[in-house]
């Protein structure tokens, strides 16, 4: 078996651990005195983490030169979408129990919720266009569309920031990781351009 296949399977299993842990807590009745809030935070935390982990794949590929690693990107992105979907459904079903009027008001009036909803819609668009067929059909536009992950990370982080009333470590860790990973891309692009330029000048 190719190494990447093994890595992929291991990471797939590992990425299910949070969902399994949540199931276990539920089974144990260990969801704090406010289970809905706990599930909301738990799923939201993991959605943003997987989003940032997804952003790490391209830098890892560039640094390591191990190209097959790119095969992990879609899977991790879909895990981000998976946890974001659980997060959204928690809000939709458990928190507001289909109270459409109140949810619509929140989306329209409260930037905190607007940003969360916008992030989810972007991830939804990325998830449905993540198939081989979409990649083929959309061609160049697929690459452009999937740059939305940068916007979704920014809106997701802003939503996360608004969820807390003060700076907490969990937020800082995710923010720093995202800044480093996006910074790497900027640095890499600049470096590539600078390297090209002298050859043009000759």
């Amino acid at each position: 078996m190719k190494p990447i296949i093994i890595v992929k399977r291991v990471i797939f299993a590992a990425a299910l651990i949070p969902a399994a842990a949540l199931g276990y807590y539920t089974y144990q009745g260990d969801l704090t005195a406010n289970p809905i809030e706990f599930i909301t935070h738990f799923t939201g935390d993991w959605a943003i983490r997987f989003l940032v982990i997804t952003l790490a794949i391209t830098p890892l590929r560039r640094i390591s030169g191990w190209n097959p690693i790119i095969q992990l990107r879609r899977m991790l992105g879909l895990f981000a979408f998976f946890y974001a979907t659980l997060h959204f459904l928690t809000w939709f079903v458990l928190d507001w129990f289909f109270d459409f009027r109140q949810m619509a008001e929140d989306i329209a009036m409260r930037p905190f919720i607007t940003l969360g909803m916008a992030t989810f819609v972007m991830l939804l668009a990325l998830a449905v266009t993540s198939t081989q067929g979409s990649i083929r059909r959309l061609g160049r536009r697929w690459t452009q569309l999937h740059r939305l992950i940068y916007v979704a990370t920014a809106t997701g982080l802003f939503h996360f920031w608004l969820a807390r009333k003060t700076v907490v470590q969990q937020f800082e860790v995710v923010l720093i990781a995202a800044v480093l990973l996006l910074g790497f891309r900027v640095w890499w692009t600049l470096r590539t351009r600078l390297h090209r330029r002298p050859s043009v000048a000759h």
Partner: protein, 326 residues
Amino acid sequence: MLIRRAPDLRYSDITSKSLYLRRREFLREAAGAAIGAAAAVAMSPLAATVAAQERQGTGHGSKLANVKKSPLSTTGEKISTWDEITSYNNFYEFGPYKEDPKENAWRLKPRPWTITVEGYAEKKGTFGFDEFIHPYALEERIYRMRCVEAWSMVIPWVGIPLKDIIATCKPTSQAKYVEFVTAFNPAQMPGQTTRMLPWPYVEGLRMDEANNPLAILAVGLYEETLPNQDGAPIRLVVPWKYGFKGVKSIAKIRFVDYQPKNTWQVMTPNEYGFFANVNPNVDHPRWSQASERRIGEFFRRKTLPFNGYADQVASLYAGMDPKKLY
């Protein structure tokens, strides 16, 4: 079995012990589970010691004698359980998550404890806790507690009417407000080593609010001494206001002529004001205040003006713009 993981280098600014206690946070961060299992084996003796201390600090206190029932108690509502009240609350001195107070409050030593009375009052000075509360009869006050985060409980406090304590302190006519300050002791309150909030925590009441019969300083819960995580040994309870007004582990009471700058107002002035009266018609910028989730219930319930205590307190705010009373 609990799987514990050694602290990550990323978290160099908090003590490894406190991180160790954060079982749930660890599980949320369980990305490196395999490494964690190995570390847990190596560190398990330490974890066991810490867990023992943890239990000690969060269990039941001693029984309080001669607690009178009060006609001011809320009736006809299901009272939240001991576990709910002692395992889920905000007390940033012990961390930003609502499981943190229970896990970390064992560090607090509520005895010996002193309370300092300062400012425009005749009877000023520093008093030992027992000396301070000795003159008063303890009353049980069952009150709704509405957090600004839109959850609520019903809590059987044991306390002393604040107006009786104020009468003893004999404030002068210059005293317009009462300011309460939480103890500052970062060794016992690890949250105070961070910059989450400006410390120590400050809250305040206008003098007429403080003299309202509903306002109490609580020293107990379910006829037992107040658990550390709920603000031992003494805390403010003002049931018509959002929970953050209920300043915990009080070390100073000041009679002042200015409106105190309460901590959350300083921190986020567009979200939290001085009065913080429960008001379903004034939304928080991030969520509606029209409804709340009672802990233990699935469906939300409507939030009542002044948390259902309008008959007793609405007159305090006659003529004031209710929009300013958040």
